[in-house]
């Protein structure tokens, strides 16, 4: 269980003014839950993820995992960054193998596991390519495989499918759901797409901007396992999507306000 308890984050900007990026966020994420965060650009979604990852310590408040305060990163929480952050000096295989090797898995085993993961994300044949030789969407998939490779209990995904074409996106959404249904990992998933959030999640957290706050948490009560084609025709699914979009439309906050 992840507990976020009255977390606020203040950034010092270069003009020396304090910027309140997150204000008094409280949120509980059950083990094995799939939770999406939706919100306008700049509302602090990434920052919240970094705090759970232990990369950033909040200015005030506390984030806890399994009852223990989060003080730093660890292989129990695997991030997939918006910017991919692949190691440019390693090949696709080298990137994916990095985690298992770091965990002390034998080279041959790590290689076999990594190759299977690379195949799963649809990059078979690209094992020996360097990140610079891949397209944006391919890099994104390598980043996902690299994180899955060390079997984190919690996945922290920052718009992981943002750079993908619609087809690959759908495929990876299904793959992610399959992995999740099999392993029941806890997933904290940032996205801009309302459909994606409703399709994947148990819970959608809607945030608002300036300062970043939680506006509303909506439970998505749709049966699992979910099939995309069935769901698209399901009036309950459609209602969730429309309701959430209305809520964003109704808010009088301009989309980009510093």
């Amino acid at each position: 269980m992840i507990e976020i308890d009255r977390v606020s984050q203040i950034f010092q900007t270069s003009s020396r003014k304090d910027h309140l990026a997150l204000s008094d966020i409280s949120l509980t994420i059950e083990d094995g839950a799939f939770v999406s965060i939706l919100g306008p650009s700049g509302c602090g979604k990434s920052t919240l993820l970094y705090i759970v990852g232990g990369f950033v310590s909040p200015t005030s408040g506390l984030a806890k995992m399994k009852g223990k305060a989060i003080t730093g990163p660890g292989p129990d929480r695997g991030p997939v960054f918006q910017e991919f952050a692949l190691f440019p000096w390693k090949t696709v295989l080298g990137n994916v193998m990095y985690g298992p090797r770091q965990q002390g898995v034998r080279a041959a085993d790590a290689e076999a596991q990594s190759k299977a993961l690379i195949e799963m994300v649809g990059l078979k044949g690209y094992e020996n390519f360097y990140p610079k030789e891949l397209s944006g969407g391919m890099k994104q998939r390598v980043a996902l495989a690299r994180t899955l490779a060390y079997h984190p209990e919690v996945l922290l995904m920052d718009e992981p499918f943002g750079a993908l074409d619609a087809h690959t996106r759908t495929r990876l959404q299904n793959d992610l759901l399959n992995i999740w249904e099999r392993d029941r990992k806890t997933v904290l998933f940032v996205t801009h797409s309302v459909e994606e959030a409703v399709f994947l999640s148990d819970k959608v957290v809607m945030m608002s901007k300036s300062p970043g706050r939680i506006r509303q948490v909506i439970d998505i009560d749709l049966p699992r396992p979910r099939r995309r084609t069935e769901l698209l025709l399901d009036p309950r699914y459609q209602k969730y999507v429309v309701d959430i979009e209305r809520m964003f439309d109704d808010s009088d906050e301009p989309a980009s306000n510093p």
Binding site: Y50, G53, F55, G72, P73, G74, P75, R77, G78, P79, F81, E83, A85, F87, P88, W89, K90, T91, Y98, G99, Q102, Q103, Y130, P131, K132, R146, T147, Y150, P152
Partner: protein, 255 residues
């Protein structure tokens, strides 16, 4: 297709070199410069080839190379380790920064008399001079590279379970490699220049010394031989560094 373009580039590049040699030959042939001041290029290259097989010339080259490599290696080892340490540790940073600020712009040749007085006229003073001059470009680029490593690369490695003390070798060093190698390249050229100058100022052997001896006895041909030799040495060493660079940076976009 690709090889054609490449040969085209090489041929194009040879044009200005050929022009320079032609101009040089022209100056001599048309009597603008007396052969005692500017010997014809054919004579110079013939002398270079002739010298290349003599053992005294080997000895001079060896002396220069020892100083060059000695100084350059010291500069690389110190520059990279101090640069990384300063980027990673605020306390070291606080001490190193002001000292570098003061020492980096100091023209180290001016220290040469002091080095001569302290270390004598043998290899040591020249090696230290070369190291001192090559150190700062390497140190500064290492520091720059290490302090601009993408934060999320470090985070990714930490999340995968890399202990803090290993981050330096597993992420910071490889990520800073392009910058480090750029620094090494500047350092190498400066090393070539400085070792030659040091040998010109005081030495009993080495390429710089050859030039000074030739100048004293007005042997114009012999003055050009060491200059062309250092240029070729620089070219070869640079080529080796370039090869190392494209091997080490094969994954980086800029290589």
């Amino acid at each position: 297709m690709k090889t054609n373009a490449l040969t085209g580039d090489v041929l194009l590049g040879l044009v200005p070199i050929a022009l320079v040699i032609a101009l040089w030959q022209g100056l001599v042939s048309f009597g603008f410069a007396p052969a005692t001041l500017l010997p014809p290029p054919g004579l110079v290259f013939a002398r270079l080839l002739q010298q290349l097989v003599t053992s005294t010339f080997h000895h001079e080259i060896a002396a220069t190379l020892i100083r060059l490599f000695g100084g350059f290696s010291i500069a690389v080892i110190l520059g990279v380790s101090i640069g990384i340490a300063a980027a990673a540790n605020p306390a070291i940073n606080a001490v190193v920064r002001p000292i570098v600020r003061v020492l980096a712009p100091l023209p180290k040749v001016a220290l040469y008399p002091a080095l001569l007085l302290l270390l004598g006229f043998k290899h040591e003073s020249k090696i230290v001079l070369v190291a001192a001059d090559a150190l700062f470009p390497i140190l500064l680029s290492t520091y720059y590279g290490a302090s601009t490593v993408e934060q999320k690369l470090i985070w990714s490695a930490m999340a995968a379970g890399t202990p803090r003390r290993e981050i330096l070798f597993k992420v910071v060093l490889p990520a800073a490699m392009p910058s480090i190698l750029t620094g090494c390249r500047i350092g190498l050229v400066i090393s070539c220049i400085v070792v030659f100058l040091a040998e010109m100022i005081t030495s009993t052997d080495g390429l710089g010394h050859m030039l000074v001896t030739a100048a004293r006895t007005f042997q114009a041909v012999d003055m050009f031989v060491p200059l062309i030799t250092i240029s070729l040495l620089g070219l070869i060493l640079n080529g080796l560094l370039q090869a190392l660079r494209s091997y080490l940076l094969r994954g980086f976009p800029e290589a």
